[in-house]
Each structure stands twice: as structure tokens, then as C-alpha cells.
Assembly symmetry: C3
Homo-oligomer: 373 residues x 3
Amino acid sequence: MTKPAGPPGPLDDRDRPSFPLDAWYAAAWDHAVGRDLHPVRVADLPVVLYRKLDGTAVALADSCWHRLVPLSSGRLEGDDVACGYHGIRYDGDGRATFMPAQQTINPSACVRSYPVVERYRFVWIWPGDPARADPDLIPDMHWNDDPEWAGDGQTIRFAADYRLIVDNLMDLTHEAFVHASTLSQNEINTERLDVRHEGGIVTATKWMLGVTPPPFWSRQLQHAFPGWSGPVDRWQIIRFEAPCTVTIDVGVAKAGTGAPEGDRSQGVANRILNTMTPATRDTTHYFWAIARDYHLRDQGITTRLREGVAKVFTEDQAMITAQQRALDANPGHEFYNLNIDAGSMWARRAIDAMIDAETQRVGVARAWTGAGR
Amino acid sequence: MTKPAGPPGPLDDRDRPSFPLDAWYAAAWDHAVGRDLHPVRVADLPVVLYRKLDGTAVALADSCWHRLVPLSSGRLEGDDVACGYHGIRYDGDGRATFMPAQQTINPSACVRSYPVVERYRFVWIWPGDPARADPDLIPDMHWNDDPEWAGDGQTIRFAADYRLIVDNLMDLTHEAFVHASTLSQNEINTERLDVRHEGGIVTATKWMLGVTPPPFWSRQLQHAFPGWSGPVDRWQIIRFEAPCTVTIDVGVAKAGTGAPEGDRSQGVANRILNTMTPATRDTTHYFWAIARDYHLRDQGITTRLREGVAKVFTEDQAMITAQQRALDANPGHEFYNLNIDAGSMWARRAIDAMIDAETQRVGVARAWTGAGR
Amino acid sequence: MTKPAGPPGPLDDRDRPSFPLDAWYAAAWDHAVGRDLHPVRVADLPVVLYRKLDGTAVALADSCWHRLVPLSSGRLEGDDVACGYHGIRYDGDGRATFMPAQQTINPSACVRSYPVVERYRFVWIWPGDPARADPDLIPDMHWNDDPEWAGDGQTIRFAADYRLIVDNLMDLTHEAFVHASTLSQNEINTERLDVRHEGGIVTATKWMLGVTPPPFWSRQLQHAFPGWSGPVDRWQIIRFEAPCTVTIDVGVAKAGTGAPEGDRSQGVANRILNTMTPATRDTTHYFWAIARDYHLRDQGITTRLREGVAKVFTEDQAMITAQQRALDANPGHEFYNLNIDAGSMWARRAIDAMIDAETQRVGVARAWTGAGR
């Protein structure tokens, strides 16, 4: 295991941004955006989402040019959104197309429009420099609509910095304590965690060979291989993609059937997909899903897994929001790191690197924030 | 239409007062003040209102000289108010008349007493220099108890700067968008608004000649002239009196019967009476009433109009408080003004002029605020 | 009566501590601490209380060394507490005894442990320098478990500085106004209050000789001396022990039977026991009890007295929290003092003296606060 030489920047340094703006952030599940006005705060910017008549998703600043009233309190008129106060209308590019009681339209009248891409069942927006909004930079969550996988997910609003959720996901030893009844087994605490990092990607891998599966996994094995029981090889392969996406490859296979070498035909696997969009510095839209690679058409399993994970994440939420409150009460506190923190330390460094690079590009003033209201 | 040369001072400049103290402010409806203690915050001052045994209204600082406990938590004893904690009593002029466990009364012991006048069904108080409290300066809302008019009103507490409500009332084109179903008609957006200003008075006039009346008005015409239908001449004449009173003369008459020239015998008129007392910088006691000039003894019409306006104002409240939150989130934001904003711009300038004159008189320290707790 | 020469330091000077750390504070009733984790804030420090298997009470900082998560969200394992997030365990002295996924324990890993003493049915903790934690400094509340007395009490959480409750208890003339229906009599306002002070102790004594007892007392006399009625000698002897304990000796005896000289055999007495632990600067855990010296085994009287006092204290709570809000709204306000304030003025000076002495010892930085999170 590689452990970082020193700690990343402190979480509560309010003089530096807590997230980059030049990044794709999930703003909503695709099914949540339609022919009504959907307000959402992303990267501390008020955004309104809707679809044009042809189905194209639009993301505009949720703040009228005239009096700052939220456009989401207005209404759609064709492909345009009309402010609910004085009726000023904007098209999907944010240009004003109507003003009350006057013939001419002030040429400067517009609201900001954000680059939008739909992928993996999410609507992604880019709050930063539009010229840099390359769709290839969208983090890989393809399991969410891959025909070889089946699953579903939800959104949770956390009253916590998104980086605390990253910390939580980068170290699964907490399962032994937070989720003792469902996921825990002693080997989580004893087996070695292998952490690697390159660019904005951090992976943390743990194998538990020849172990007894905990309830969450024995039930899934029974579904895929009815009647079978015995020891398993269990894996947890965590993949972080800066700034805020964590996909976790977890599974068990019959012990000794070659899972560590790549043959997982005698096992079951899940992908826990997580992307934690900063709403504000202290609040997060946590979009997650769980997908599996067996019995793809059994909606009962889909529902059971989704509800099971939802329950587990409620336990994490209680712990993480308590941690946020403790941070708020202890500004400038210096943290001690254990071996288990190696994954999150590298993830934090990858986030810091993105922020630092962006600060160098656009300057301390963070021009994009100022423009977006 | 005259448009101001430049914008007034920004709304959110916290270094300057948002309202003058040398002004009459409605503190309560007259029926709300009696032989109990009525606390109300006016111009950011805690005030307690009550009536003496002879019915005279009294306004004292709601804060005991001894320990600052609200006097409104105490009780009346004859014409005096006794603090509920240690029993110190004050007369209607604010002088201490009793102290516990001692014979002598500290000669400096007193609370501030505010000039009070009852007029037009409201209790008005003057938070500023008592020497300047001339009752002739009370804004004209006489329709509220004029025997030629009938009506009623209510009080709404707005979580917004009173000036945002002034803005709202000075431009009725918002009716087309906020109140589309009840009051709107296309001509509101196309007819010319005539704005005039002199001293602290701003008037904004709009005539719509030969138009079809919207539901709110056709129903009233039917009441006054049963069976009649046809085009109308419709008017909206808004009168602002600094710092916070707006009376609106609205009505319709049978088209071509001379209403623009002054003959309104073939029509119906309402007066919307509004006075927006600043409670704090960000909250407002909005006192309003609607009066009419026909069927004066029909309580059914009175109730229907009052409830109709109450519903319309709920729509305005949602929009205005959203605007206040947007302002709070965007300190220092510079606003763009449209033609429709001419009335509110002049109103804001009249308010600014009152504040500036007062600041020159009493200095930046605003001595009266300091004295009033 | 001695009146202080000048006022104590203002209550709202945020640059100085509002309470000493070198003091015993009641953290809980003894029955409230057991084999679960009991979080409580004392002197602005998060504390978790529990009992070891042998019944010994433990007080630790409620904040894990690793990520600051509250230990009270975790669980007991034998005599240790395990953090609910990553499972780090601490013994009753705060030393780490287990870390996840590693063999060695960081030698610096610990949380602060506070000196604990159980006495008079309360669990007392010492937030300051442990070397100074002398159990002889615990304030005298022995009536709470003295076999010659019987009684019971409760805990109230006040949204107010503990010193406002001290003020309230040091002057019982407020009974005439706040508790007019139960405790008041005219003589409270006319009889002389004798105030004495020495070191951290202030006493305030009032005798009302040959008076008619108010309802609260006539009922108790009837219990102890069935059938008797007549004038009484009534006393109120308030004893303040810095920083936050007030015990009040109150009672009545048949008039002229020698109560002032010390013979109270022909009367009944109560002790009102109050200790007001600062939770934060603006909130207080108010622990109180009422004990009596007659009919010791009659639980009906115990309950009736406890409920009666609880009701009276609700009236005080309303007044004191209103006073706190008024203080917050008037920073720097200078207060006037009346004769009735002599007791509280000396009490405040005794508190200030403790704080000043401690500041001189440990410096402005208040090292203990910093260490405790």
C-alpha cells in the first residue's frame, strides 16, 4: 500500500474552492427532467432544467436577468421559459425573446446557459468554461444502462461536503462498524488493501479469499446458484474518478474458481455507482445506483437490492452529517490519518490538483461563479 | 413617460438605512389595539401598544429600563404598564411610577414613548424625532373610513424589504403574469404608462380604452349595472407617497361614457390601499384594504373583494419573497431596468431623498434608533 | 444591605469567558447515566457519559480522535467505547485500545477524559485542569440525599446564559410579579433584604414576621400541623456558591415561636436546590430539586411539591429567555441596578473573580477548551 507523504489541503479552508467548476456534474436523473421546470443547485449555482419540445434537455441559470427571481417559478412557453414575475422570456440558449410593455429587447438581456449531456441515465451539466466541456470527460458509470447489467438507484440529499462521502466510500472497513449486521465480516479488518493512483483515478482493492459470505452476499449467491453453499472469494475494488465519482466493483465467487485471476463465471457481482454532486459547499446531491450481472429481468431482486442499499446509506448519512457538524464546530482542526485512509487521501489530492489547475487557469476570482448567480 | 436618468441606491447597501425614521408608520389596525398589550416591531424598534382607560392609544418601547425584558410580557394596571419580571411600572408617557422594594424611583428611569395618531382605521406611530411628528404628514388613505366608500382589509407579514413591495405595486404589468387568471388582459402590456413625480409623490397612470373587461371587473360591473355587458374604458392610477404608501385607483366604466375626462358615473371603481411598514430591514407588516364606491351596504361584496385580493396578494408574496432570497444570495448585484420600472425607480428615489435628508439632519449615528432599543 | 460599588463585567462581552473551567459542574442526574452512551455538552465541551461494568461513571470527550465523529453514536464494548464509524476503541481513561486494519496503535491516539465524582444524586465533572479537581470543591447540595430530608427534582434546558438564572434566584422579589398567584405577598416588597458575601459565597436573607402565609405555604403548614392556622414568621435565605449553585432555605413557622433565633420546630422548611451548568454560552442545563423536612415518606407531597415548582420555573423560563433575546438584540447595553439587584451583583462579581483568576493562571488562550473539542 502506498500512503501519501503528507495530508491534502484541509477540508474547511474557506479561502479555497471545495470543488472544480470545469467538470461534469450529474444534475438530475434523466427521468426527472421533462416539460416542467426543475430547479437544482449545482456547484453553488442555481440551475433550472427542462426539455424542449423535441426532448432536448436545457440547463439555464435559475435567475431572471431583470430582478433575479427564479425562472423555475415561471412557466414553459414552447421551447422558451417565461419568468413568472414580469413575463420576460428566454430561449434554450438563454437569450431574451420577449419583454413586457416594450417593442425592443435589451440586447444584453440573457441568462447563462450550461452545456448539457445525457448519459448513463443522468443529465450532466458543466458549470465551468464551456469551451472545455468535452463529453469524453463524463465519468464512467456505464453499468447504469448497460444491457449486461440490471439495477436501479436513488438520490439522497446530504447536509455534508461531498468530499466526506468520497472519504466514506474509499474505505470499506467502516462496513464492519456502521453496517455490522449486513455487510461485515472479520476479514475486512485483516486483509490488505491495495491502493493505486494515476492522474485523477484512484483504485483501492481488497480480496478476502476462502471466507464465509455475510448475509448480503449469501442471499445473492443463492439467487444465482440455487442450493449452493460454501466458502467464497470476496472482492471490493473501489475506483475513484475526480472530482466526485466512485464506482465500486463488489462480489463473491465460489472459493478457488479463479475470481482473482479474472474468471468470475462462478460468482455474482454488483456495481455500486456513486456520483456526489456538490450543491453548495456543505450540501450534496448524492446520486447512486446498484447494478448486478445475473437474473437481469427479475425486478424483485432489483427492488430488494435498491432498498437494501438505501437502508445502508441512511446509516452512512447519519455518521457523515455528524462528522460535518463536528468539522463545523472545530475549524482548522488537524486530522490524523490511519492506514485505512490511504484511498481517501489520494482521492483528496486528485481533487485538490483539479482545483489548483483551475485556479491557475481562471485566477482566484473564479470568473464562472460570478457570472452564474 | 419619464425614465430616471440613473438608478437609485442599491437595495442591499447595508451601510445606509433602508427607511427613514421621521415618518408616520401604520403600527396596527385600530381594532387590534385595546386593553391588552400588543407587541409590534416598527422601523426595527420593539414597540408595545395599548389603550388607556379613556381609550387613548399609547406606544412605548417594548423593553423595560431595568433588564430589557419586553413590557408586553407584563400587564396593564390602570393606565400604566407593569413589567412582568420585577414589577416596575411606567405611565403612558414612559415615566417609571413604581419600583419594587424601594421608596424612591430612580429619576432617570423611563422607556421611550412614541407619538401616536389614529386615522383611517390605523394606529400610526412616529419612530423619529417627536418634534417633527406633524399629523398632517400621515399619508392619505381616507377611503378606508370615508362614508362614500365601503371595504375591508388585512395584514400580511412579508419576509422581504418593504421596497420590493413598493416596486411590485408601482408596475401593474406583472398582473399579466402573476395574476394571469383574474386580472390580466393583453392591453396591460401594450398601453402606455404615464409616470409623473413631484416631491415625495409619484403617480403612474394607464388607460385601456374600449377593451373587454377581465373576470375581476366584469363581475363588479354586473353587480353595479345588472344585465349590462360590453366594452369598457379601464384605468389604473397608482399613487405612491414616500416612504411606503401606495393607493391605487382602479376601475372600469362603460366605454365612451367619459371616464378619462372625469365622468365615472357609468362605472365602478376600487381603491386598493397599501401601506408597507418596515418591521426590520428584511421584514414588513403589509397593511392593505380594498374599498369600492357602489352597493356600500352589501357585506357579501365586501367579503368577496377582500378575499379575492387576499388571494392575489398571496401570489405576489411568493414572488417577492423569492426575489428577496435571490437578493440575499447576490450581494452588490447591479440591476437592469426596463420601461416598466419607471414608477418604482422614481419611488425609490423619493425614499432615498427622505433618508438622505434625515441622515444629514441627525447624522450617520441615527440617534433615534439607538435610543429605542 | 451592602450594594456593590460598581457593576460587574457586562454579560455580553464575548471577548471574555462566561464561566470558569476549573469548577465542578453537574453533568447529569446519577440515574440518567448507565450502560448506554449519554451525550451532554458541559462548559461548551461535548462530553459522553457512561458507566463501566463495575458501575464507575466515565466522562470522555464526545469526539473521536480520528475524524471527530461523536463517540456517543458508537457503542460500549465492555468498559470501552467504540466509535461507530471506523471502530476505534477507547478505554475509560480515553486511551485508544483498538484500530481497524492495523496491528499497532498510534501512541498519541486518545480522547480527553474528565474527572468525575458522584455526589448528592448528580454526576459532577471538572472541565478544567485535572490537577485542581478537588472533590471538596463540589458545591453543597447535601439535602438532595440527606436522610433527614425528602424531595425530588428535574432538569430544564434554558436558552439563556446561566448567569441570568443566577440573577433570577438571587432576588425573590420577582415572586410578587412572576408568581403572583402562588408565592406572592406584599411583605416581599417591603421587608429588608440582608446581603452578605465572602469569597465565592453570597447570602441574601429576608424575614417576614407575623404575616399571613400565601397558598403555597399554608398548604404545607396544614400538612405538618393539621388544623392549625394563624400568622407565621416566613424566611427566605438564599445561598450562592460560585460559579452556578444556589440553595434556598425557605419556610414558615408559627409566628413568635423563635424561628429567627433558630428554633424551627414549630414550622416547615424547604430547600430549593439549583445548579445551573453552562452547556454553551447561551444555553444552560438547569438541575433543580426541592426537599422538605417533614412527612418524609409521603410520596404524594414529594410529587405535589416537585410539580408545583416545575410550574413556577416554567414562568421564570419564559421571562429569562425573553431577557436573553433582548440582550442579544442590544449588544453592549449598559444596565441600571436597583436595590433588589444587590445579591446578583455580588454573585456576578464572585463569578468574575473565578474567571479572572483562571485567566491569569492559564492565559487568554484557555488551553483546556482547545484540548477538549
